[in-house]
């Protein structure tokens, strides 16, 4: 075995840091998917009739759809009847605020490094913590509400702000959009809701931390962010799951609405359990994320650092409807062992002078497959649309793959679209150079990879950038000789 392979082997035995789970009594739906289950979930959440009807309509749509197979990923099909669609930790009474939340649940988040209690005031980040199918608590709610900002769990929003939910739910990602979006629309359980009123600049980062704990349960969260005229918000999303032998399904929908002059920045650090070194277990991450720049001069920016999941199928997109609106997509996707990722973005230019920018950095190691898939569409009336795309791939070892699938559809001759792509390998020369200056190989790889991904990491809020750098280093530890 060559030295390269030896180090690769060592690296594949690295364990996933968040692979633990906690036993607690859960309130679960029985396994299976049918109308009864959907009624059960809706009743559990005491939802209004219109929402139940919306779910049922989505379900009947989903039943007539087929699972998409165009992505460059291969996995055994999900048996939707074997899954459970709702699992919530049992709590004696509904907690009115964070102080009433079961300390055991808060401890789960402490262990993940997210404090919902003591340190919450120091961090300047408001957190909504979602465990399996429910939100266990949201911090800084009062501070934010003084500015008119609504930041709460989706279930709470349905109860407290039904008019807003009704207006925007499904307005960006229609229930008929795709197979997983339809499924999510039928069975979604919880997620975050965020509303920034006109003229308000949200003074802190808003974030949701998703944790799957229960076994054999799908997580179907729904996030809705609405930014009214002249408002600004930066939103973060993090996620982890226990290490289990079975694959688990995570099919989320995120919708963002940006009105005139509004700006929304959405950052994700995705670290779902990726499966073990033999490719056993791991999360199927089939997610639909889309934002609409509905108003003129609005801006939506997606930044993602994807390190986890066995299979990822995800294309955070922007519909640039307002004139002069801007869409951005910055992505670092790392795959290792047997992970597969098919990820990218869609930029749909509808308004005049709309601009989009795509920076995608793929890193493949082990026996993984990493695909960038992106679509740039310029519609007829999108005069002077501009797009710049840059897709880079970095390979480690000789058993992984990197693929790029760019689609460009231009219907207005004034459009300017640029696409740049590079593929490179981490060079032994680079590693040796670092070694010769006293830097060991692990740190050399971390240094080189972080340098490679810098343009994307720079887009993340400070606290997240540091975390993401560590995560990249950890995911790729020892992956090069």
């Amino acid at each position: 075995m060559s030295k390269d392979n030896q180090i690769l082997e060592e690296f594949t035995s690295k364990e996933y840091e968040h692979g633990w789970s906690v036993d607690f009594e859960a309130d679960e739906a029985p396994a299976g998917l049918n109308e009864e289950i959907i009624r059960w979930i809706s009743a559990k959440k005491e939802e209004p009739q219109w929402l139940l009807e919306w779910r049922l309509k989505a379900f009947s749509t989903w039943q007539n759809m087929t699972e998409p197979e165009w992505a460059n990923v291969h996995y055994p099909k999900v048996d939707f009847q074997k899954l459970k669609y709702y699992s919530a930790p049992k709590q004696k009474s509904k907690p009115k605020n964070l102080d009433e939340v079961d300390p055991e649940l808060l401890q789960i988040y402490e262990r993940l490094g997210i404090s919902l209690n003591e340190q919450k005031k120091l961090q300047g980040i408001a957190v909504d913590a979602v465990l399996d199918s429910v939100s266990v608590g949201t911090t800084f709610k009062e501070t934010l509400s003084k500015l008119g900002i609504i930041f709460c769990s989706f279930s709470e929003a349905v109860q407290e702000h039904p008019e807003l939910v009704k207006k925007y739910l499904g307005s960006v990602v229609p229930m008929t959009d795709n197979y997983y979006a339809a499924l999510n629309s039928a069975v979604f359980s919880d997620g975050s809701f965020c509303y920034i009123p006109k003229g308000v600049r949200c003074p802190m980062e808003l974030s949701t931390y998703f944790r799957i704990n229960a076994a054999n349960t799908g997580q179907f969260e729904r996030t809705l962010i609405v930014a009214e005229d002249e408002s600004y918000v930066s939103y973060l999303e993090g996620c982890t799951a226990p290490q289990r032998d079975e694959n688990q399904l995570h099919a989320a929908v995120v919708e963002i609405y940006a009105a005139t002059n509004a700006e929304v920045k959405y950052s994700t650090v995705q670290n779902w359990f990726p499966g073990d070194k033999n490719g056993k277990g791991g999360i199927y991450n089939f997610v639909t994320k889309r934002g609409i720049c509905a108003g003129d001069n609005s801006k939506i920016s997606w930044t993602q650092v994807e390190t986890g999941s066995a299979v990822t199928w995800k294309y955070p997109s922007c519909i640039l409807k307002g004139d002069n609106s801007i869409g951005e997509f910055y992505s670092v996707a790392v795959t290792n062992n047997y992970q597969q990722a098919d990820t990218g973005t869609k930029m749909i230019h509808i308004g005049k002078n709309t601009k989009s920018r795509i920076v995608s950095k793929g890193i493949s190691a082990g026996k993984s497959q990493n695909s960038y898939r992106g679509q740039v569409q310029v519609m007829k009336r999108a005069q002077n649309a501009r797009n710049f795309s840059q897709c880079d791939s970095l390979l480690m070892g000789d058993r992984c793959g990197a693929h790029t699938f760019p689609y460009i559809d231009i219907q207005n001759p004034s459009a300017k679209v640029e696409h740049e792509a590079t593929t490179s390998k981490i060079g032994e020369d680079q590693i040796f150079y670092c070694n010769q200056r006293g830097i060991d190989t692990e740190d050399a790889v971390a240094l080189i990879v972080n340098g490679y991904a810098k343009e994307v990491l720079n887009q993340l809020p400070m606290e997240f950038a540091v975390e993401a750098q560590k995560l990249l280093a950890l995911t790729l530890e020892g992956s090069v000789g």
Partner: protein, 253 residues
Amino acid sequence: MLSIKNLHASIEGTPILKGINLEIKAGEVHAIMGPNGSGKSTLASVLAGREEYEVTEGEVLFNGQDLLDLSPEDRAREGVFLAFQYPVEIPGVSTTNFLRTAVNQVREYRGQEALDAVKFLSLMKEKMKLVEIDQKLMSRALNEGFSGGEKKRNEIFQMAMLEPSLSILDETDSGLDIDALRIVSNGVNQLKSPDNATIVVTHYQRLLDYIVPDYVHVLYKGKIVKSGSKELALELEEKGYDWIKEDVDSASV
């Protein structure tokens, strides 16, 4: 400080070094000269621990320690520095960030405290003067888009930062104009002390006008075939390598 005994090394089964013997003491400057393909750069690479080269025979002691037994990073931490003939580019990593990682890993190995940002930057400022390097280069990605001269200056700057006891300059003069050569040599000379030693690997005598060697060795076909004082370099400059080649080749027939 450095004792090389009967060193043999090969790459992909082809022998390159065929029995090198060399003793270097603290405070000395040794020049290794020789025609192209004689094994000069191989010797530098083997000492630094480049993996493609396999040592098939012999030993190298560095301050009494078996150097060949150490990983490349531990050799660096023990005080061996190689100024590369072709410095490597690392996109997205600033020279400052790179060097801070290096300096602190070396310090950690030596049981010294890590330098904080303020102390590190003031050390950088002090050492930058030695090679007249522009501050702007420090925040740019390491060696990316640097001119040939800037790359070589950066090598000597890194040497100044890491304060090695044994520096190996591999063809540091290649690709330098006369001004850059003067600046680089100046830096090397200022770093010289009774406690450290320098190996200058070069094809031309030119560099030795600036960095004056105590000893000159001629490498040919993987062996040191002639050693002498700095006058030997001048003789080589004048007469070329052919007379040495002829001497050796006729002796081996």
